[in-house]
């Protein structure tokens, strides 16, 4: 419903428990970096856009609503707890 606004947050894996950080980094490494966004499962679905501040050349990984789960769950929780509202990301 509110697709033209976004929540944004940052997560530093160095501040996470080592095991959680390792799983998260492995999962993040395997994301479709730079690939075009897939088709959403339905209108008004959430979409997650990830980037790595220390690896800007990787581009952006776009995930559909149900894909930010499992080992990536800490990202969703971080967003929920610390997210700041802003306009949706403009394509670069």
């Amino acid at each position: 419903m509110a697709g033209n606004v976004a929540l944004g947050a940052e997560l530093d894996t160095a501040q996470r428990p080592p095991e959680e950080a390792a799983r998260l980094e492995t999962a993040v490494d395997g994301l479709p970096w730079g690939a075009p966004a897939g088709t959403p499962p339905h209108p008004d679905a959430f979409r997650y856009e990830l980037d790595l501040l220390d690896q800007p050349d990787r581009g952006i990984a776009v995930l559909q609503e149900t894909e930010l789960a499992g080992d990536l769950e800490p990202l969703r929780v971080q967003l929920k707890e610390y997210g700041v509202v802003g306009p949706s990301r403009r394509p670069t």
Partner: protein, 343 residues
């Protein structure tokens, strides 16, 4: 061994039997004829109504005019099964405000489409409407998944109780209408049109429910569901880009965002509709709504339509409905010119 014969009696034979000297035969034939006539009338009535472009052929009659709603409680689950039935069609209000708001909102949406267009539910053939409340935990969204509506309770900051927005319910169910009509692809300009059409008819559902005209409406989408971080609304059809401090919608093609989110660029056709409705005055469904509806149902509207293609169809359908030299056609042409979509 004889097999029993199974026959369907034609009306002509029933007619003959109705004139029989045998009273029992006469009575049975007359009963059968009465029932047969009801079915034939209902089937003819149904055949005269058109369902959506992608709806299945009508196989049995249904006289429209009444929604068939069922509300389910998801109990904070995020699966897309329906959940526990908590209110069915015709049942009284319950203690759960989200349930009752969903029930009423589905009814408001049904009523709008039936009263203005004679459309019997989102598929035009009486499809039951399913609403699933308490989806997820503090889930700040509502959506139509192709089968049912799902409502989150909101997180209190981003969005609040999503069933509180009549326009939101109209918006989401209109995704279903679009699914059965042009089935606009949900990306690029066709996706922005898909979103805009949901806002166009969502705001009209709210206007009708609240007795608002084009002049008295605030033309805000989501004003009743936003939390403090997005107040006063999600989007403004009258003034795209100014609904809240983070609103990035463009008001015309000068601000069009290539590969932008479908909720961003929808501001352009949204504003076009607002301009038409406000120029013509009165109820938005007096002329602007029918023009947009006719364009949505026009077989020339492809699933990958651009803003220009849709704009041209609104003009063509305005001409068809009101005449080539009409004020309605002038209003539509001027609106698209204002938002800089070339015809």
């Amino acid at each position: 061994m004889h097999e029993p014969m199974r026959c369907i009696l034609p009306a002509s034979l029933l007619d003959k039997l109705a004139r029989s000297d045998d009273e029992a035969v006469r009575a049975a034939a007359l009963d059968a004829l009465a029932l047969d006539t009801r079915f034939r009338i209902a089937r003819a009535e149904s055949a005269s109504r058109t369902g959506g472009r992608t709806a299945a052929p009508v196989t049995f009659a249904r006289i429209g005019g009444e929604a068939h709603r069922t509300i389910y409680d998801k109990k904070n689950s995020t699966t897309q099964s329906f959940g526990t039935v908590v209110r069915a069609e015709g049942q009284p209000a319950v203690q759960d405000v989200a349930v009752d708001e969903a029930y009423d909102g589905l009814g408001n949406t049904y009523d709008y489409y039936w009263k203005i267009f004679g459309r019997d539910s989102i598929d035009g053939q009486g499809r039951p409407l399913h609403g699933c409340v308490h989806f997820g935990r503090d889930y700040p969204n509502a959506f139509w998944d192709g089968h049912a509506m799902f409502f989150g309770d909101g997180d209190g900051q981003f969005l609040t109780r999503t069933t509180a927005g009549i326009d939101v319910i109209g918006h989401e169910l209109t995704h279903g209408v679009t699914q059965y009509e042009a089935n606009l692809v949900y990306s690029g300009q066709s996706g922005a049109l898909n979103e805009s059409i949901s806002d166009v008819f969502g705001i009209q559902v709210k206007m009708m429910a609240l007795g608002q005209t084009s002049e008295s409406s605030d033309w805000l989408i989501g004003a009743d569901i936003v939390g403090p971080q997005l107040a006063p609304a999600l989007r403004s059809m009258k003034d795209p880009g100014h609904a809240n401090p983070h609103d990035d919608q463009p008001a015309d093609m000068d601000g069009y965002v290539p590969e932008g989110d479908v909720h961003t660029n929808s501001g352009i056709p949204n504003r076009a509709f607002y301009l038409v409705a406000s120029k013509l005055g009165g109820n938005a469904w007096d002329a602007a709504g029918p023009i947009w509806y006719a364009a949505l149902r026009d077989n020339r509207l492809n699933s990958t339509a651009t803003f220009q293609e849709f704009a041209r169809l609104t003009v063509a359908n305005a001409q068809q409905l009101y005449g080539h030299q009409s004020g309605q056609v002038d209003a539509v042409s001027a609106a698209w010119d204002t938002v800089k979509v070339p015809l």
